[in-house]
Symmetry: none
Amino acid sequence: MDILKKLLKKNETKLLLVVADGLGGAPHPNYGYRTELEVANKPNLDKLARHSVLGLTIPVEHGITPGSGPAHLSLFGYDPIEIQIGRGVLEALGIGFHLGPNDVAARGNFATIHDGVVVDRRAGRISSEECSRLIKKLSEHIKSIDGVEVILRPGKEHRFVAIFRGEGLSDKLSDADPQKDHMPLVEAKPLAAEASRTADVVNKFIRKANEILRDEPQANGVLLRGFAKSPKIEPFPEKYQLRAVALAVYPMYKGLTRLLGLETPDVGETFEDEVKALKELWNNYDFFYIHFKDTDKAGEDGDFELKVKKIEYFDKFVPVFVDLNPDVLVITGDHSTPAIIGGHSWHPNPTLLHSKVAGVDDARFFTEKECAKGYLGIFYAKYLINLMLANAGRLKKFGA
Amino acid sequence: MDILKKLLKKNETKLLLVVADGLGGAPHPNYGYRTELEVANKPNLDKLARHSVLGLTIPVEHGITPGSGPAHLSLFGYDPIEIQIGRGVLEALGIGFHLGPNDVAARGNFATIHDGVVVDRRAGRISSEECSRLIKKLSEHIKSIDGVEVILRPGKEHRFVAIFRGEGLSDKLSDADPQKDHMPLVEAKPLAAEASRTADVVNKFIRKANEILRDEPQANGVLLRGFAKSPKIEPFPEKYQLRAVALAVYPMYKGLTRLLGLETPDVGETFEDEVKALKELWNNYDFFYIHFKDTDKAGEDGDFELKVKKIEYFDKFVPVFVDLNPDVLVITGDHSTPAIIGGHSWHPNPTLLHSKVAGVDDARFFTEKECAKGYLGIFYAKYLINLMLANAGRLKKFGA
């Protein structure tokens, strides 16, 4: 892939990557074994499909169901197996916390502990309000451990994020979480010599927190797992020589794209706000990523009809994208989220690429089936950016 | 790929690889968004398509537009990223100059220089005759530098090739060419310790040449770039255990295939001559490569209708290929050259494979669209040779 770097050239073209999260589906017996995309009434997407080339993209590998992290890395042209974003980092991104280079982040759980045994890893799924109260209480009593700053942020229900900030910390630690109920508490263990001080700090923090929480009825202890530092990633704007902006309202996607070096302005709270910002910022960037979350949410809930409705809602914005007249327009998903599965899946992403020189195929609808027969074929999502750059005339010839 | 070597077996089969250069196209708005292959009247290709399997081959990587060098390496089963042919070597191949193991070749430009600044890198695109005159003048005055033989050959207009011949020369040199007008002259710099003597020789040559050209009105200086030695390549006939011949009239393709160890007899000046030679040599070899250039030339000129005509001309020879009754017949391109782009492109190559055991698909026409839906799918061109060998019964079973 290093050859790409030498081939890059700049021009005035505009590239628009529209990601409908969890877009791809699977046939559902209650709907005539059709998929969400096959049932949805989406005239704009279908019309565009007739003037585009279609394909299916594999986020990571055949049969691999990706989380949002690897799925997005791939979309931006990074190898999602080579570059892995740790759980702690993803949790921090998910609450909009920007990690610095000296930070080690971990996913935290409030738990119920009796006599050194974890009896409920989720502390009865305490409310988010209760979680906030407990984080406030801990934060008031614990500012730092042995000179390492401790930053705590509440999440939903029993979840929280812990950030340890200090020079020379390492994320090479085992989880301080037995992973199952009715198991004894475990300490974080250093997985490399360089991590012994960090392990010490983390374990001291846990003992101190459990001491402070001692008299809480349910959440009388904390578990930490997924210790991680921000990965070193070559920024997308440098890697591909593109002034790039991400239009996303969910913290996770803002965080992920910020991690990749895209600009992530605050654009509001809805997809409509994102689209408005897209139009306003159209002259300021070369590459635009815009993120629609609701297809994934409906799929996660296993709600086929809601996902269909969300596709139909999304469809109404397609003319806006076309009217901006981007040199390259891609509409795709990051991963599939079929309602029948009720979660992310390994099914490849329906993908549509529109440009003046993209090629042609026989697709008449934007569905999984039509994409499977498309001119782009089935390929790894990490190569999508190559095709976008090529169609934008931003790649020189390789060799003479 | 090393497994292939152990699986090779010999037999009496004949493999015919027909390459229509730059064959693939892209939809053109002036022709109903059809491609050159879709517009062309090519009954023989379409008929053969109905008795063959189709697919699309990617010369290098998704989105990468290859030069002729990488595109051809791939067709012959070499990894075009692993083996790279330097610019100087390709230029030498292009004029039919055979490089020896002690040769470093460079692409040369005659340029106009004022006070050490390159004011025109192409010296006003002097005529080819003028170029020949200047090369003769230089050759008369410069035979060698510090014991290194200097060989100069004219190219088209301002272009020429310089070959430095001597023991221990290295091609690890930076370009002695500022690459842009209105920049000061630059010297070749050694990029490795072993190249310092070569850099010295090259820079002395340039100074001497510029001295000799001092009073020329336009072409009063030379620039050299793309220093390269012939890459070390395992010869194709050994790698695949095939007695192989290349039938090509353009020097570049003769040179490329000669570099790969194919025999490259002089067959004349036209495609008809190549086809005549193919018939005459049919009993003498196992593997035949035959090259049709005109589809690429028309595409490069952005001449859609001419490319259509050239496809129609090419089509008339298809029955000859079929009548030779090869055990495996492949018709494909090396890269695409859509008229609408007016140059090489990244679009995969329409590919047709015909054999008694190749399989079947629903293709009715030999077009990009039909190939996209073909039984062979979309795959890297470097695997095409595997399929040819398999269809020829020249590969044993892998494992028990």
